[in-house]
């Protein structure tokens, strides 16, 4: 949209064109551009699905492995109306979401608190950074069997896995955000009379917030990964279990259907997060076309 307004303002108008006309032309161009973008987005999706469907039906690809869109849609329909072989779909989705959300919330809160604390304390940061590096070098998914052994097949093991997936990402960004806080701004707050705690709360954390939010965007996806990998390794419910069972019975459509569900949920979460961020970050400069 920015480009569209740029285009129109850089275009030469004949002398005597009124502001209203220019604005109308700009609005029209912006609408036109939005429609074009939307058209191509939909067109590419449709083309992809149609190609997939035909390729499978004409046996260019083996539908046994690659399924086809119609079969996936049918499976989704069955799951939502009749439930899965393991019980209602909604319950599985609920379990996976519960694990992801708890892991996400606890992981990000812990990440922010410890990130800010170490960011503010150079000595502690120097001491602990080596341990954090060591633990961070472990690929998180290998912890899944350990957590399941210790915490059992239920909620706790998946939450723990989602937690470790989220924690390090948020921790790193919070830490970096604190370190990047503007020196003049900190000096200003101190001279204005801020105590250490006031400084942390009303200067350091707000200025690290854009860093923290950048990590929250990716880390909900990570929380879902944690939950699902945990469910693969051992569980009684959850989307990960559905995928596992579909795999065991060579049900390609079932696997893709589960992927579609996770995709939709992750997109929804991303959308929510963007909304919250926009609300919190209303102080940030907006591109010109939005303020006008």
């Amino acid at each position: 949209m920015t480009d569209a307004t740029m285009d129109i303002s850089s275009r030469a108008f004949r002398p005597g064109t009124s502001d209203a006309e220019i604005e109308a032309a700009a609005a029209k161009a912006a609408r036109h551009r939005r429609r074009t973008v939307m058209f191509w987005r939909v067109a590419i999706l449709v083309a992809f699905l149609v190609l997939w469907e035909f390729a499978a039906r004409l046996a260019w690809i083996d539908p046994f492995f690659y399924a086809m869109p119609s079969a996936i849609a049918l499976r989704l329909y069955e799951w939502t109306t009749e439930g899965t072989s393991e019980g209602p779909l909604w319950y599985h989705l609920y379990v996976t979401m519960e694990e992801s959300v708890i892991g996400f919330v606890t992981g990000s809160v812990a990440g922010i608190i410890i990130g800010v604390a170490l960011g503010r304390n150079r000595m502690a940061a120097d001491i602990f950074s080596i341990y954090i590096k060591v633990i961070n070098s472990i690929p998180r998914v290998v912890l899944a069997p350990i957590f399941i052994m210790i915490l059992g097949l239920g909620l706790a093991s998946k939450v723990a896995l989602a937690f470790v997936m989220v924690f390090f990402v948020v921790f790193h960004n919070a830490f970096q955000g604190v370190r990047e806080a503007d020196r003049a701004m900190i000096a200003n707050a101190r001279i204005l009379g801020a105590s250490n705690w006031q400084l942390t709360r009303s200067v350091i954390v707000p200025s690290a917030m854009s860093w923290i939010f950048a990590s929250l965007h990716v880390s909900f996806g990570f929380a879902i990964i944690g939950a699902i990998v945990g469910e693969f390794v051992g569980s009684r419910y959850g989307i990960g279990l559905l995928i596992n069972i579909a795999k065991g019975s060579f049900d390609a459509a079932g696997m893709y259907a589960a992927i579609v569900i996770v995709m939709v949920v992750a997109l929804g979460a991303e959308y929510l997060m963007t909304m919250v961020e926009d609300r919190l970050a209303k102080w940030r400069p907006q591109p010109l076309h939005e303020t006008q």
């Binding site: 003049a184 707050a189 204005l192 009303s202 200067v203 200025s207 102080w283």
Partner: protein
């Protein structure tokens, strides 16, 4: 009590300041630096770029401590950050996530004033700098000159007895700058604070100050001190065309030029 009033606002006595470069080498920013600022006096400090002008201010705030010598504020040694000090920064040091009024309220709130009182006081100060209409704006929505006025209100609201300014107007265009000079002199004449104004702009220094300190190329020490005997109140926009102003300018510049050239030659070498 009577003698307390007569002690200078700021004294730097044979102060040196060294700091370590990232490679571990010791660098000297200030050496044998002596300066006295009387109460209510407006002192400007000029010197070549990067000579250590800002370091003097950090020593007075207590954000940095001297390697040798003594810094006294209001007759007492500097221990930590003194609440009687206000500081206006060169760069934008406003809090971008707070509205204009919340920025101005920050000082009183940090110092434990109740919110309604802080708010009333902030309104008052915004009116004095002519920004009442912009209370609910965010800093990014204001022009550079307006942001500086917010910064002035944010500093003055704490009622500082000592005001330190580190090239505060260097990022503004010439016209806005003259307006800000007028604004500053007006606020200063009401508050009667002692001011140390660091700048590399000699004309700005002469137009504003009672005394101009010329520093040598780094490590900085005082090269000479000039008393500017121009009548107050001054009209900054016009004063630069007066003969006495031009004479001061010429004399001090001859002095400063040597240092600027030394500093330039060193940088080029």
């Amino acid at each position: 009590m009577a003698h307390e009033k007569t002690t200078p606002a700021i004294e730097l006595i044979n102060v040196s300041r060294r700091f370590l470069s990232p490679t571990g080498k010791s660098l000297t920013a200030l050496r044998d630096f002596t300066m006295t600022v009387e109460r209510g006096e407006f002192v400007a400090v000029v010197g070549p770029t990067g000579c250590g002008k800002s370091t003097t201010l950090n020593l007075i705030t207590g954000l940095a401590s001297p390697s040798a010598g003594e810094v006294r504020v209001m007759g007492g040694p500097v221990k930590g950050i003194d609440p009687r000090i206000g500081f206006v920064f060169q760069t934008d040091a406003l809090f971008p996530w707070r509205t204009v009024i919340e920025n101005v309220m920050a000082g009183p709130l940090f110092r434990g004033k109740p919110r309604p009182q802080a708010q009333a006081s902030a309104r008052d100060w915004l009116a004095r700098v002519g920004l009442s209409r912009f209370e609910q704006h965010y800093p990014h929505q204001l022009s550079g000159g307006m942001r500086k006025r917010v910064a002035l209100a944010q500093t003055f609201i704490n009622g500082p007895e000592i005001l330190l300014m580190d090239e505060p107007f260097s990022s503004l265009d010439v016209q806005t700058r003259v307006l800000m000079h007028e604004e500053l002199l007006r606020l200063w004449s009401e508050a009667r604070a002692s001011v140390v104004f660091v700048t590399h702009d000699l004309e700005e220094a002469i137009a504003l100050a009672d005394k101009v300190y010329v520093l040598t190329a780094g490590p900085a020490t005082v090269k000479s001190v000039y008393t500017i005997d121009l009548p107050r109140p001054r009209v900054v926009a016009d004063i630069r065309y007066e003969q006495s102003f031009i004479d001061y300018s010429r004399t001090i510049w001859a002095d400063l030029k040597e240092e600027v050239e030394t500093s330039y030659a060193r940088a080029a070498a």
